[in-house]
Symmetry: C2
């Protein structure tokens, strides 16, 4: 039996590797349209910022590794033009056909460059692919720092702003919506905005870019533009083949990563996942989720019965040195789900003062009707990931705020205060329930 996988980054190669492990006899071919596979895309902003010397250091394994160690045929520069599912074959751009019995679509996401006129001009850069990141870094190393505009206030835009500041550029960050990180949390946005200001990033919220010219963005002068908005699931092939899409525009899958077409699976940034707090499908493209989905798609394509239950919307980003992490729903998002959110922000220290405890702020959101924990944010310099992960774990377990407030968390002076900041926040929020 042959398994074909379209896409050779996180989800595609996780699927192929997992299928290989479960079925040593399977024939597996991975088709990647670019010339690079298996690179850590999330590292590209840090390559641009100079933290990683060569982008190839971000490559986990090369095509030869997959062939040699896992007997997976990885073909680069192999662009699929059409899924001809009735004939169980793929037509490549070269005209060649590749047949399959099982197919995993892992075509990822792409930036909609048509959305903003002028976005293909030479002064416009992105960090979506190694080639684009290399082009941006070369420019930053070549020219004297001047004025840059970053379009998009999601995590890639925030990482881009940080990277540009390290080269000494004056940075304007333009976000169309009222909030950063697509979080609908004005308190969180205010905290990040204060920090951006402190680092010399000129944030403009509610700024919908009309067009880019050689001179800048709309009426704002800029010598360089980083486009970090307009990410869309890359679903052209799947849609043309007749796979059902969800409301988000991404490919609808069940918890086995099956699309509406028998024998075709989808995983990664092109696919939806279940949001375990809302109980509805969502599109939250992230590398961690892509890896998990890919493993389940590969396992199920190889005949195993595994499932991917879904996500709770956890993410973390470093914003000019500040750790910002979110999970679950903000109060505004919860309200739109018909819930009755109560929330609180608390400020405490991340460990004992004599261990140089640093300020950390925690927001928790809970539902007044059910008492259930709905989401949270953690903002601070240190130990942010661990604390958001505790909240995320509680969301997976549908824990009540009361149970959450009694968690037996680790304490010793070098590591935490006796009341961990997340427990402190839980205590405060219980008073409002």
């Amino acid at each position: 039996m042959r398994l074909a996988v379209i896409g050779g980054v996180a989800a595609g190669l996780s699927a192929a590797s997992r299928a290989r492990r479960l079925d040593p006899r399977l024939e597996i071919v991975v088709l990647e349209k670019s010339d690079s596979v298996s690179y850590a895309a999330c590292g590209l902003p840090y390559f641009v910022a100079g933290r990683v010397g060569d982008w190839r250091d971000l490559v986990v394994y090369d095509a030869a590794y997959f062939s040699r160690e896992r007997r997976i045929e990885v073909r680069t520069r192999a662009e699929v033009k059409e899924i001809q599912h009735a004939r169980r074959r793929l037509e490549l751009a070269s005209g060649e056909h590749v047949t399959y019995e099982k197919l995993v679509i892992a075509t990822g996401a792409r930036q909609d460059r048509q959305a903003i006129p002028g976005s293909t001009l030479p002064l416009v850069y992105s960090m979506n692919t190694p080639a684009e990141a290399v082009r941006l870094k070369q420019q930053l190393e070549r020219v004297k720092p001047r004025r840059a505009a970053v379009i998009g206030g999601g995590y890639i835009g925030l990482e881009a702003a940080e990277a540009l500041r390290t080269y000494g550029w004056r940075v304007m960050l333009l976000e169309r919506g009222a909030d950063l990180l697509q979080r609908e949390d004005s308190e969180l946005t205010r905290r990040i905005a204060t920090h951006l200001d402190w680092f010399g990033v000129d944030l403009r919220l509610g700024y919908a870019v009309k067009s880019i010219t050689e001179g800048g963005v709309d009426d704002e002068k800029a010598d360089l533009v980083v486009l970090a908005s307009g990410l869309k699931p890359n679903v052209d092939l799947a849609r043309a083949a007749g796979a059902e899409l969800g409301q988000s525009g991404a490919i609808r899958v069940n918890d086995r990563m099956e699309t509406s077409l028998g024998g075709i699976y989808a995983a990664g940034d092109c696919a939806e996942s279940m949001h375990l707090v809302t109980g509805r499908h969502c599109w939250i493209p992230l590398g961690t989720t892509a890896n998990k989905m890919g493993r389940v798609a590969g396992a199920c394509a190889a005949g195993a019965r595994e499932r991917f239950p879904g996500v709770v919307g956890t993410s973390i980003v470093r914003v000019c040195g500040l750790g910002v992490a979110i999970t679950g729903l903000s109060a505004a998002q919860a309200r739109r789900e018909g819930l009755q959110p109560v929330s609180v922000w608390t400020k405490s220290r991340d460990r004992a003062r004599y261990f140089r405890g640093r300020p950390v702020e925690v927001e928790l959101v809970a539902d007044r009707a059910s008492g259930r924990l709905l989401g949270g944010c953690v903002v601070g310099e240190q130990a942010v990931a661990g604390r958001i992960n505790v909240i995320a774990t509680a969301l997976h377990a549908r824990m009540s705020l009361e149970d959450f407030s009694q968690l037996d968390l680790a304490y010793a002076p070098p590591f935490a205060p006796v009341w961990d900041p997340v427990l402190m926040a839980a205590r405060q929020l219980r008073k409002r329930l």
Copy 2:
């Protein structure tokens, strides 16, 4: 109505403060036999090590604060000799009587100094009370470093060993059992032992001290001995009053912190708590638990209906710079509970290599029969607390290993690798289930 509290440290003052907040009219008296209240006892080893200049910096609030801000009468040097519950009064050492309607016993733990002959000799120190810690620190600052023996391989013994090494002492660490941290986990013990050896601590396991003399411990020469073993719940008053004790020797309480005697509550290191993994009572004296128990005892004594569900056995300790954290059950402990544990240790990095990711080791234990997660350990230099807390939260939720392996945890290169070490361990352990 009057609430009396015996003991003025973590549990006692949490109980008094919580009762005050819930009932402004309550009369509250706290009786503390020593002359200091409300100090962070867990900080004493770091005071000895020189991290904290003055032990008074560990005092959170003084007696005057409680009187002024919370209208709680805190009496120091007020030793209770007897609980005369039939008459609802306490008899103090001074002969005075203090009446009550509700009583919270928060008498803590104490070291059994009778257990080892010679343990009251001048060369024997401890870190249990501010006075003892001051005496030890003065000695360390006064004399040239020579040979020291630390008796007890629990977290206080390990912290003592670290503190003595910072003064340049040669340290022998003597533990009666086969394992450190009372964990019954030979793999964990081996990892800590390797690290202790690297830091010049001479660890002797299975070493039951017979006696201490002016010259040292048994046949081992030592110029200074730190006693960090033999901690026992301080239950004399409760037992004499007729309160039921558990198998552990600590005071038996229900989830409202009620003892077997109506109107008498117990909280903190003198009381048992429910172990949420075994479903049985246990005695795990820790400051965090004492605070939580105290709050619930105070709330219930003031007439509210709150509950303390229990603990999962989480703790963390810094061992000569290495973070060591445990939660739930080890495989050996699970086996004694009649479970069928499978376990795995995995070694990975705590974040991307280009963010100076450092090695971190994770152990997970799960039950083969039910698939449920039972416990874990995390050992590493950084981000240890956050990871053990994720495991602890999953234990509270009785999560299966399968669900645990799909947790939506935060990822970005500055914070974590794409597969968090705890998820990596879960993936490995699933293969053995």
